[in-house]
Symmetry: C2
Subunit: 201 residues, 2 copies
DNA sequence: CGACCTATCTAGACGCTGTCAAGTTCCTCC
DNA sequence: GGAGGAACTTGACAGCGTCTAGATAGGTCG
């Protein structure tokens, strides 16, 4: 159950870790399956046994990403006030936390066609993350977005705002105009919160 | 100046067109320089002469993308009312038009590390596109965002909203929850405009 | 008219990539 | 203790981007 045997029984997990490390080091576009195998200390053909293809490995990695996205959001929620709006802002800030901490993984999850979106694990994890946002908006509006089109519009607006913000931040596009890199701590949180709040208008 | 000679004098332009065609057909992640060369009817080494590398070709392509983004925005503006808010909404809708009409090019421009952002042509074109947004917000607020931090926050919010919306739309993520695919015409424009307007709150 | 010169493109080689098929090693269970 | 399957290795293949050397066309000048 540990490792280091010929069949070390843990390779799938190790490959995922190695893949993420490669993603961080080389970026998503220079990602190489063979480099992942080498990093994990196995032959270049080994990954194919556990994940059918490079696509399969990246799909699995992206799926874990959605799970960790939810964790980042819940971490924020647990430190926020209990008012619905505060909770929704926390969900948004958690979204930004995750994107900033894992920019390449974030891109893999949302802006890449490499993961197979039809994959069951991927789909479940992605839907769970979407559900988080849905819950937040429901609490604020006091009704279920799934049943009320206008509330669903509110979900779309919130998602678009936080997602666009995340995407612009990790591509460094707000560093120049907003000088976002030079702001930190509470000032930064305040600024981002104010922007996120606009989506709720 | 036309084509079909050995040195047909037009290859750079033809390569750009071929590259975009390949982008549309195969997607950004399966993009191949050799396929572009084949499509243009030249040897696989030919592109290197005009654009130093694949990166160079994609950088040039992305740069033209920004120029066409501005054109899409101006097309919308010319059909909109003259009120500042209407003009800004038009700029946003043009942004969405462009993204929906050229999803892979949009991804190349905003979410890829393949283009060289230090390239002069790329930088100028990208800054011009950003300037469009800046102008729109200035007219609405009546002051220059470059000089007023609070107005620049407004720019960031507007950009994040429209950019996030574009990104979610082209990845099909609003088709399910919002059923956006089933809405069209004026209904659709109204819905998108209402979301964009929220950023101005 | 002919020779050169430079811009433009071709052709081949290199090491890398992902995938596949066949072979090898280890573990388990009968 | 032998069989069989699971986990991994090995080698081959086509396609990729880049580099280098060579071929060719067009224009310029003697």
């Amino acid at each position: 159950m540990t490792d280091k045997t010929y069949h070390h029984g843990n390779l799938a997990v190790e490959l995922l870790q190695a893949a993420e490390r490669e993603l961080v080091l080389n970026g998503i576009e220079a990602f190489s399956l063979r480099a992942v195998a080498k990093r994990a200390g196995v032959s270049h053909g080994a990954p194919a046994y556990h994940f059918k293809s490079a696509r399969g490995l990246l799909t699995a990695l992206a799926a874990t990403g959605y799970e960790r996205l939810v964790e980042a959001q819940e971490a924020r929620q647990s430190h926020a006030g209990s008012a619905p709006k505060e909770q929704l802002i926390a969900i948004g800030l958690g979204y930004l936390d995750f994107a900033e901490a894992n920019p390449d993984l974030f891109r893999l999850m949302f802006s890449s066609e490499k993961p197979d979106r039809g994959d069951a694990h991927f789909d479940i994890a992605a839907k769970a993350a979407f559900g988080k946002l849905l819950d937040g908006v429901r609490e604020v509006l006091g009704r279920d977005p799934s049943a009320h089109p206008s509330a669903m519009t509110q979900v779309a607006a919130s998602w678009a705002m936080v997602h666009g913000l995340a995407d612009l931040i990790i591509s460094g596009r707000l560093d120049g105009p907003l000088a976002l890199k030079e702001i930190s701590g509470p000032d930064r949180e305040m600024l981002l919160s104010r922007i996120l709040l606009k989506a709720l208008a």
